[in-house]
């Protein structure tokens, strides 16, 4: 491969994408969108807190009937309640608007529901009636029990801390999925953000009818490898463009989101401390990610070389991406029965291998030999697709405006 030409292709492809305003417009729209969503969540949290505070200062007045005999009249009265005997009349008063709320405590609250009727206060504020009914009943029950500790335990339960062991060592549990699971997220983002550009690796030359000029100026392998490397670099730039503002936003708003604050040292340590990292799993995850990316790239390059236009290639791209993410529909099976037949078929079939293997690796359900087979499958098919793509590009991409018949394109090459 001519190094000078490879560098020229990488430089050209990189510059003509990254130096265009459209690239930054699209790339930065993602963190802007994230910022807007985070802002809305933070704002919503603040409003909810304020509303809860206001609710506390505006007591509800209500009537109630108590068939259970559990409600303490003093507690009910303190909460704004008045006991009545005619439930039907009290309910009608609410309908007529002369009473704000009526609560019917049934004979057996364990098997029967507490019926609440109230004047509408809006989607969120109307929940105050149910909250009052629950609070009155809980406080009455607590008072009946007598011992406040026992009463709290009966109502709230206790905090439970679980530690599990495998091979004599504590297992990380759900938190252990986070770090290796990032490779699955990265792969998903790569497909999402670079997929169309990968498809265009060979389509662009074909659509612009520049293939013959290119093929007589340089080796097609150099062109395609250069374009793929440029795409990977563009992906990194795009990742930084998306990740950096997102990180800043997270740092600024993590407190508002109820997460440990990442803006101070202790907070950052707390966040990182929650994420256990197993080097072997991370290494396998990284290798799976790289080879999955290679296979995906090779496949899209080959599709691009065969299809006559971006529109038709887009349809094929959709089918490929759907089939690649089919394992997500069987995610529960992959996690609960990682060594079953279905899981193994998904893991070793080239199209479904990336997501299946990355998911199983993240959840600790991928044995070393399964990881080995998956890596070999991904590497072999990635290489084969790339070779096929280059060959189809050479012979097929001058079939301007028509779909290439693979057999014919390869048949020409064999003669």
């Amino acid at each position: 491969m001519n190094r000078h030409n490879l560098g020229t292709v990488i430089g050209f492809e990189f510059r003509r994408t990254v130096f265009k305003p459209r690239f930054w417009l699209i790339s930065l729209s993602v963190p802007v969108l994230i910022a807007v969503v985070v802002g809305l969540i933070a704002l919503s949290g603040q409003t909810t807190a304020e509303r809860a505070e206001n609710q506390g200062s505006e007591p509800v007045t209500f009537t109630y009937t108590d068939a259970s005999g559990l409600v303490d009249p003093a507690i009910a009265k303190a909460a704004g309640g008045t006991e009545v005997t005619d439930a039907a009349a009290a309910r009608q008063a609410v309908v007529d608007g002369t009473s704000q709320c009526h609560i019917d405590f049934p004979k057996d609250p364990l098997s029967q529901s507490v019926e609440v009727r109230g004047t509408d206060l809006g989607l969120f504020d109307s929940g105050r009636y149910s909250a009052v009914a629950q609070a009155v009943l809980s406080a009455s029950v607590e008072k009946r029990i007598g011992d406040p500790v026992v009463a709290k335990l009966a109502v709230n339960g206790a905090d439970i801390s679980l530690v599990t062991y495998a091979d004599g060592r504590p297992t990380p549990g759900l938190a252990g999925v986070i770090a290796p699971g990032l490779f699955l997220v990265l792969f998903y983002l790569a497909v999402l953000m670079l997929g169309n550009q990968m498809l265009n690796v060979t389509l662009e030359e074909k659509e612009n009818r520049v293939t013959e000029m290119i093929l007589t100026t340089m080796n097609p392998t150099t062109l395609i490898v250069g374009k793929v490397i440029a795409l990977a670099l563009i992906g990194i730039v795009q990742g930084v463009a998306v990740g950096l503002p997102a990180g800043i936003v997270f740092g600024l708003f993590s407190g508002s989101l109820g997460l440990p604050s990442a803006s101070d040292e202790a907070g950052a340590a707390a966040v990182l401390g929650l994420i256990p990292i197993d080097p072997a799993t991370m290494l396998v995850g990284f290798a799976l990610f790289l080879l999955s990316f290679l296979m995906f790239t090779g496949l899209l390059v080959a599709i691009g070389a065969v299809m006559p236009s971006a529109k038709e290639a887009g349809n094929a791209f959709g089918v490929v991406v759907m089939s690649m993410f089919v394992p997500l529909y069987a995610a529960s099976l992959l996690v609960s029965d990682p060594h079953g037949v279905v899981s193994q078929v998904f893991t070793f079939f080239p199209l479904t291998a990336p997501v299946s293997a990355l998911l199983r690796n993240a959840t600790g359900g991928l044995s070393w030999w399964e990881a080995g087979i998956a890596l070999v499958v991904l590497g072999a098919f990635g290489w084969a697709f790339l070779v096929l793509g280059v060959r189809l590009f050479r012979t097929g991409s001058i079939s301007y405006g028509s779909r290439v018949r693979i057999g014919r394109a390869l048949g020409i090459g064999r003669r």
Partner: protein, 311 residues
Amino acid sequence: MWFSGAMDAQPIPAIEVRGFRMAFGDQVVIDDLSFAVRPGETFGLLGSNGSGKTTTIRALLGIYTPTAGQLLVEGRRFDPAQGSRLGYLPEERGLYRKESVLDVMTYFGRLKGLSREQADGWSRAYLERVGLAGHARTRLDKLSGGQQQKVQLGVTIMNSPDILILDEPTKGFDPVNRRLLMDLVDEQRSQGATVVMVTHQMDEVERLCDRILLLKDGRAEAYGTVAEVQDAFGGRRMRVTFSGVLPASANFRVAVGERNYAELELPDGVEPNLVVRELLDAGVRLRGFSTARMSLDEIFLKVYGEQEAAA
């Protein structure tokens, strides 16, 4: 044959095709084609649509793999990675349409081995010459078809190629720009470049080409200098200016007949003197006459007209 090998001390042909056969499935497009292009000559590859010209060029440049035969550029199979200085203007025109003129030209210049500064300097000088200096930063898809063609020609002749292959070079050019293009090609020729023209413009072929190859149904119909091909096809002709009525005769056939002008095709063995005497005997008053060969246009019509008629 002059290109048969090194033993006869002939230079290595710029292009050599031996026993070339190309089939797509069961369809044979080219069959047993052989020809050579000498270094520094201008060679015309002629043929009707679908006769196999572009397929031959694509196989020569490694885009297609031939079914059989050898296609060599400067004595070896063409490989752009080996640094052969070859410029190719394909029939299917196109460049990176969303990029600026200068960016595209510089890119190709770099791929052709120029430094960034050289490529940039060459491109700006070329654009100045062809009247596109003001469009250096314009996106290609914002240019007219003719302007895009000029840019593509510039990319083709960048870095002074030793071999220049032009497939339908004047397609899409108006007469003014056609002249400009031919001047640029002439310049390359004068600098020693070998030029292969694939074209339907017979006047250009007659004016520029040293030798030609006529392809018909994937086979060589004629191959040699323009004069040799004219002799092989047209025999001799007489152009006569006259008054009176031309007689019917076995000694000539009226190829072109107007009121006072005619072109007479003479069969082998018939001398012009005999025809002149016959016309005078028939009472035709001759105002002038000359001998001529059949034009390439007429040869083209003769060879491919029959094919078209049959189709």
